[in-house]
Amino acid sequence: MRAVYTIARNTFREAIRDRILYLFLGFAVLLIVSSKLFSMLTVGDETKIIKDLGLGAIQFFSMLISVMMSVMLVSREVENRTAFNILAKPVRRHSFILGKYFGLLAIIVANLLLMTAALLVIIFLYQGEIDLTIFTGAGMTFLEMAVLCAFAVLFAMVTKPILGSVLTLAVFVVGHMTQGIWLLTERLQDAVTRFIVAVVYYVLPNLERFNFKSELVHSLPIPAAAVWWAILYALIFTALALFLAWLKFREKDLL
């Protein structure tokens, strides 16, 4: 356990000492703050627009940070051979994977907290009250990123850094389109194609399960069951992706 914690802490420390993270974070906060300006340009309830834009920005920048950081902190560790120093010590390969994963997750949490705080302040300044439902949105983004980071770790173990980030990005994009993929299976005539599309649907995570933005923006109730399902769903996909990463990395030759 100590090895996992040590590797996670080092991963986190590497990220917070890198300027790229602050660049992303700066842009994210800028976008959240400027959502007030955007709301002026659009017809409709300004608070709703601020919330909608703010939550969207939090999700988008969390995704960008996940993709970037996974390349920088996981792929690079194997590629640059800094991993030699870790793995020649009494450290199991699964501890390395878990350490890297939890390090990434810690970065995501720190960024989410900062971005959420920025959004809360903007809404407070506009509305005069603290909107705690924003935390539900941030929590869902956290679950989504937990799944995405697990896939990022998996891709870092099986492929080269750039391809790894492209594939992680692809999981994010396709993960938000799986509903469409399911509809496609119902319309397809050819059984083989339908089977292939169905496999894609089941293999890739449906990231729309974590999307409660419209409920949050329009202050609609969110069923507790949906939240629990989302948590369980995130846990299953995270565990699966990390297990596959371990299967691949467990006997990988580090050249």
């Binding site: 051979r81 120093n85 020649a88 009494p90």
Partner: protein
């Protein structure tokens, strides 16, 4: 006879070179034994499989077959790994850490008690000559300083077996002397040392025994004196009237000067060479026996492989 600390038995390893290329056999049945307390040199040319062997011992790669034990335990056992201190060949470091932070990170991975950690880190920084530079970022370190911090991390857990992959590479003469002194001090303290090197004088001066690995096969193991003595002596021959490049007899080295030719042959080829030179109308000027050194031993084997 002293206890065997590291034992490799019939290690074999092939690498996939690509989809349509044949597999490359890097280790072809490497077996050797390192005794507790000795300084063991692992010699061989580039591509012989030295680093592959070391990576197999440290579990960075997985051999196709064979067995590795450290102190009688399988090398994959965490208890066995705790006995090792490993210094990889080229230092790869985190730029974001300072020297001391890097050592603390390694100490945490080794599971060292936090209370002992700080004292050990300062002690090692002092020992490798980096006292006062511990708080500087690794990115500001020179190659020699990185090599020293690399050595320091390998010493953190006071290993029973210190494995060093090319510890002298890229160091200036002072750096080499310092590293050599640290190795010798460790050896005096009872640490078993297994190190690979290209630099033959270093190996000759500090190793109790050496193994010579060529093309994935151990060609010789033993004390330097024994290995050299097993070999047939060399002869240096000078002559005129024949181009040494056209000789059919195998030579170790050759040179054509303005007035005479110079070649070096193994004792077995001596008579054939003299016969060939005189038959071709050349004139023999001198024939001098040369004391064989480890370097010459290696050169002859390297040449054989290249042929």
């Amino acid at each position: 006879m002293s206890e065997i600390l590291l034992r490799l038995r019939d290690l074999r390893k092939t690498y996939d070179e690509g989809l349509f290329k044949p597999k490359k056999e890097v280790l072809r049945g490497v077996s050797l034994e390192v005794r507790r307390g000795e300084v063991f040199g692992f010699l061989g040319p580039n591509g012989a499989g030295k680093t592959t062997t070391i990576k197999a011992i440290t579990e960075l790669i997985f051999p196709d077959s064979g067995e590795i034990t450290i102190g009688g335990l399988p090398h994959s056992d965490l208890e066995a790994k705790r006995k090792i201190g490993f210094m990889p060949e080229s230092p790869y470091f985190y730029n974001h850490l300072s020297g001391a932070e890097f050592l603390r990170f390694c100490a945490d991975l080794l599971g060292m008690e936090t209370a002992r950690e700080e004292a050990r880190v300062s002690e090692l920084l002092e020992q490798v000559g980096l006292a006062g530079r511990g708080d500087d970022k690794l990115r500001t370190y020179s190659k020699g300083m990185l090599q020293r911090i690399n050595l320091a991390q390998a010493l953190l857990n006071r290993p029973e077996l210190l494995i060093l992959d090319e510890p002298m590479s890229g160091l200036d003469p002072i750096g080499r002397r310092d590293v050599r002194d640290i190795i010798l001090a460790q050896s005096e303290a009872g640490t078993t040392i297994f190190f690979s090197s290209h630099i033959i004088p270093d190996v000759e001066t500090i190793c109790d025994r050496v193994a010579i690995l060529i093309d994935g096969v151990i060609k010789a193991v033993g004390e330097v004196r024994e290995i050299v003595a097993q070999e047939v002596d060399l002869y240096e021959v000078t002559f005129t009237g024949v181009d040494p490049e056209r000789l059919k007899t195998g030579t170790v080295a050759r040179r054509l000067g303005s007035d005479q030719a110079w070649v070096r042959v193994v004792a077995g080829h001596r008579d054939a060479l003299i016969g060939e030179v005189t038959a071709a109308g050349g004139k023999l000027l001198s024939l001098t026996p040369v004391r064989s050194t480890l370097e010459e031993f290696l050169m002859r084997h390297y040449e054989e492989v290249r042929r």
